[in-house]
Symmetry: C5
Subunit: 354 residues, 5 copies
């Protein structure tokens, strides 16, 4: 099964706000990168230790602090101190089983989003939790591992010709969320391909594996939908909220993200319906196969059982069976049997079994 | 499969507001037509270049600017400059995977609608995205290709006897949306015909293709519903909005569009239910066929296997089988077998298998 | 199929407000009747032409103008002039594919309701659109054909002992809608009978026709529900509205109509569930029949194939088969075969196949 | 079928407010009982005629007037006069097809509830409509027949040690509704038993009757849910309403009834899910049985058909068949056939068919 | 069946507020423990009688009174007197069929939660009702039996280094509810394991028991969801309420519980979908098995029935059958039969039946 059931590695028994990494360790050591830019300058740096991040706290312009890898709890703790973040917020960053959500704190906006990609080898959806903290002039992003879909955003920041350099941290926050949501369309296309492959398989040679693949795909879609649909309400609440951290100009862009999320959700629904159709086709294909098998059996048995009976009759050993001694009995029996055969064949033709 | 899964040709990685045409190029070069009218005059012109459209910007009366073909991004860009439109609005016009929606901007109302037609050859629904921008005294419409359902509206504009000449741009906008929605009924009738054809096929000679056609049709309906149902909320929000661009008189007409949309949605639901019924009928027809095959096999086997056994008995070569030497054994065996045959036939008659 | 798919005869391309009759012509020429009454007098008249209706416009008391037959567009147009009705309202009266609804205009309340009856011959639901216009002191009703369920209301108007004579046009409007809704119960009873007939058919002798009848009935229920359920919100909006045309006393009576509509809707839901049950019973009955056929085949084959084998053994022509020459071989073989038969029968008894 | 489809005996054609008993006549003549109590005294009386009820109208303390039997319309009419009740209210009391509801009138609260019991003999749910009218200091209850679940309430009234004596008519009203709702739990337990019986039947010996019983039970649950679920909104609206007839102290108790109704509804949902499970188990049990039958047929046929073929070979009468004359042919054939038998058996063992 | 249908042991007929224990008696005698703590001190004591609890009523700091075992009604009654609790609240504590809920009383907040655990032996979910009463500085918890998931909370109270010592009764109340909700994740993991076991069983060797296990598990999930989902609205209403008993700081923590509840609910939904998939896989596996059986039968019968017919022909005893006397007839027949065999095999190969 492509998607094994995710264990929850429950934190039951720990005090709330205790910082424990819940999830798999996906990198050896966390990588911390920082970008600081204003319309004229742009500085990018990979930090050796989290302490260095403190220097940027009071920097001018917009700062994007990105952390790849969550298992080093002390890093998260330190960032919490630098930016004065609520312990429950830090706990949520570390728990990678979060549901996408947005929460308003006094000094920041906290958002959790699922970055979805498609693993071509395992043929399944890969999900990585990305948390964003938007504080004044700063966006802090937390990823489970190195590698993301933010490349184009980085390029735009480095290049003066794009608006992003002129707009603040809220626009950066929007641009990052937008690039995650845009990537969902790429994943949708991969899934569409997989559905097409399965459609062929169901029609041409369905096996017991096919039904399992169909159910796996159905579950993938469920998983995908669950990752995407809360983003809708999330963006919605960002738009409505009166927080000063997000400007009106950026709110219009958020409306665009909202539209994209609806599009993704509808595509997922369509795919789910199509997968349901695959299931029906599979079942009816099984029935048809059974039907074909039964027809062969019936045709053969219906033709030869009566003929064998006729042969059996003249295999009897009675002393007084006049036909046995007639000259033309044997050819006559052959003719009778041929006639029976022809009648049967006509019957099957009429029934459209042949 | 009639409807292949639409690829999303994701724009992932592009800056928001970047104008890129997302969709197939359906015409060689864009065709720009303009109609300018007031109660007394009506001028229609096909523009050679988009620059000429600028002249109409300040024209008196009502102006309808129509663009067929979206792949020449510079045209859309130019219109954006002439009418001062938001970059996200232009981006939405170019992305033909939009969901029907209406958006209020400071200086305009922007609406996206799906124009649905039925392709008799491919037996599937064709969808074309039409975007409308309603600014003061102007309606700008963007279509993916030449050819639309606006002919009657054009006729009414050209003819002085119709009210449309006396009413403003908001009424024109309504009339265009209305003609798209009215055309949905024509498509519904085509689908109704196709359902009737499938009903006959399911009852008379269902094959494995039939189930696939049923699922295709189901998916078509899903696609149709998805194109139609957002129009309801769209019209609703137009009616409620306090925008000065739409007069109260036109709002009453929008209520009519709203009613039509509900009617279309309900018809779609009814058809979906009927297609579900086709599916059930297909499955039960498969079962019945299997039943019929089994009955033939059972009747033949049940009659002849026992008779063959009787013949087998008297084919044995024991030295001491007194019956073999009796004078009337052979006819007696025939009588016994005939009796068995009759009993079987009566049994099957009673069971209503014959 | 009892209910063929209704064609929409789309008006696509016509200007909104154009008066065109959409629907079948069901009467030769429209019949116009008028009743004018107050607590003391009651006058009933069949009008020769619609012009005569103008006289009643200023009459005292309550006036009920009833038009049977909609294809003579000029009559509707004339009434529109007499009562100063909005063109879209007139258009809706003529389009018999309307969904039940109520609309408030400045000078009137407009309501569309479906009058449902049951055609015993065709065994299907008949629907007729009835439109009501409630203006001060006047109720105008439009029906597609002669014949309705308003007989008892007419009787009550003609008879002084009933309250209806003392109450105004709003009460008359209520009484007419109420008599339509009350008649739904009669239709429900007809459907209940039909379900009972189908229940017997499914249990006793289900054929391929049965499943089609089940689906037809399901579709009838869908159609019925669609005709009934909008009445609920319709009555609701009448109760809430502040229109002066409806008095508070009548509003209490509308609450009663509302209750009845809920009752009808719930009955329809129950029937739908029962029809779903019929479908399941049908499928399981098909399976059981298949099972029965297979059992007969299995019993006969299982008994006689081994016996035939035994007979076959002693039909072999080997020179050295000692059993063939023993004195009691033949009876012994019979005993062996009888024993095999008994063992088989006991086995089937144990398996409860007999 | 346990629950035949209820006929609606429509009142179509009668004037609204006309008092006609809709339902079966369940008692010979109505029984009228009255209880009048205050903290110190309690008087219980069976009235000979409804006129005597008038005396209690102005009595001190709390009065409970109970009418068993609704077919004597004149009694209901008289009560309407004594307590000044709206004609539609009286009509609703007489129509026993009401849906549970609560209605506020100027001078009273009117409630309709279904009293549910379980008929062990017919194995179905029995429903009786109970209407309550709460006027100042008075509760009037109308039942279809003698016999109810109010015994414990009567006992508590007769016994001074209970609070009910000290609390007013609103508490009495609550206590009566509460005792009806509490009795639903008893009915739920009966249904639970019936589900357990059906579970055994489905697993051990499912017949065609079983599927019908499952559907009957499903319908019973539907009926039950329909009787119970409106009580929720009903109690809810009683709690919210500002009516002076219900004190704040009683409102807290109504919250309790509300909780119970939710519990009953959830239990019904669980049972419906379980009945759905029964249905699935039944279908898969039918499939398994078919499978078992087919296996027996296949095993027997697969073993003996090839063996019979071997015997058939040596039953041929060719002049030149050397094997026929060999000394050990006959035992050799037996050995070959035994070997074939063993191979077959091993094959079936491997396939786990034995 | 793992989960037998819970009986309701209805209290029908008892006065509301009558204290009767509804549920099984799970302990011999109730165990009463009390913890009293402030930032500096912590005292834990097991009380011999409930009278001793009265002393703590006026104690400083935060007091947690825990009662294990509900069948001794007098204990609950006494606590009701000490803390002045409403009789309906006490009744709800004793009725262990409550639905999770929260209720605001004048002097306290009352909450009912289900503590869920997984019984590895019986392979089913165990549920225990826990009621909380939050009064000023006091939390009173009522459990059905000894043993709970509060161990870690107790540890944190005993240890000065945790915040819980510094925070008040509302935080304690939160901590207790949180530890119950956290434990749900542990139960989810157990269920995930069980689903994996069933997945193997369905694929490898499905029996009739399997379908029953699937339905049991489905019912368990239903039961689980029912226990969990009301907590969501419960926590929600706690957050919104303006009660002074809960501080704003604690409200933020409650948001966290809310998130967890959503996560649990979504996991349950995913599992339900997976169980549905198991059901489908089971059914298609049954069909495939039937198919396999039929193929074996068809192959064997189709090969040997025609061969047996050929042998039968030459077993006939006609005097004039020239083939019988030809020298090479016998080998020729063998060759013919071998050819037929080969043709059949090729046919089956082509059909992919082998």
């Amino acid at each position: 099964m492509a998607r094994s059931i995710k264990k929850h590695r429950s934190k039951a028994g720990l005090a709330p706000g205790t910082l424990v990494h819940v999830g798999e360790q996906l990198v050896d050591s966390a990588r911390i990168t920082v970008m600081n830019y204003d319309p004229d300058n742009c500085r990018e740096e990979q930090l050796k230790s989290i302490e260095a991040a403190g220097e940027y706290r009071k920097a001018d312009g917009t700062t994007w602090l990105n952390i790849d890898g969550l298992h080093q709890v002390e890093i998260i703790e330190k960032i919490g101190q630098i930016y004065d973040l609520h312990p429950l917020l830090l706990e949520d960053i570390l728990n990678t089983n979060q549901r996408p959500k947005v929460e308003q704190f006094d000094n920041c906006i906290f958002a959790v989003v699922k970055m979805i990609s498609y693993d071509d080898q395992k043929q399944c959806i890969q999900s990585e939790q990305v948390s964003f903290v938007l504080v004044e002039n700063h966006v802090i992003s937390f990823q489970e591992r190195v590698g993301d879909v933010f490349g184009p955003v980085r390029d735009r920041i480095q290049n003066t010709r794009w608006r992003i350099r002129k707009l603040g941290a809220d626009y950066l926050f929007y641009a990052l969320v937008d690039s995650i949501v845009d990537y969902y369309f790429t994943v949708l296309d991969k899934i569409a391909e997989r559905i097409e492959v399965l459609q062929d398989e169901v029609t041409l040679e369905p096996t017991e594996k096919t039904i399992q693949k169909i159910h796996e795909l159905k579950r993938e879609m469920l998983f995908f939908r669950r990752a995407v649909s809360p983003i809708r309400e999330m963006v919605n609440s960002l738009q409505r909220d009166e927080s000063k951290l997000i400007s009106d100009a950026t709110r219009i862009y958020l409306r665009d993200v909202y539209d994209h999320t609806i599009q993704v959700t509808e595509a997922i629904e369509t795919y789910r319906e199509m997968i349901g159709g695959l299931h029906d086709t599979y079942l009816s294909s099984i029935s048809n196969r059974m039907n074909a098998v039964m027809k062969v059996l019936t045709i053969i048995a219906t033709i030869f059982i009566p003929l064998t009976f006729v042969a059996g009759i003249y295999g009897m050993n009675f002393d007084y069976m006049p036909e046995l001694h007639w000259r033309w009995s044997y050819p006559a029996v052959w003719i009778v049997m041929a006639a029976m055969f022809v009648v049967m064949m006509l019957y099957f033709k009429k029934k459209k079994w042949l």
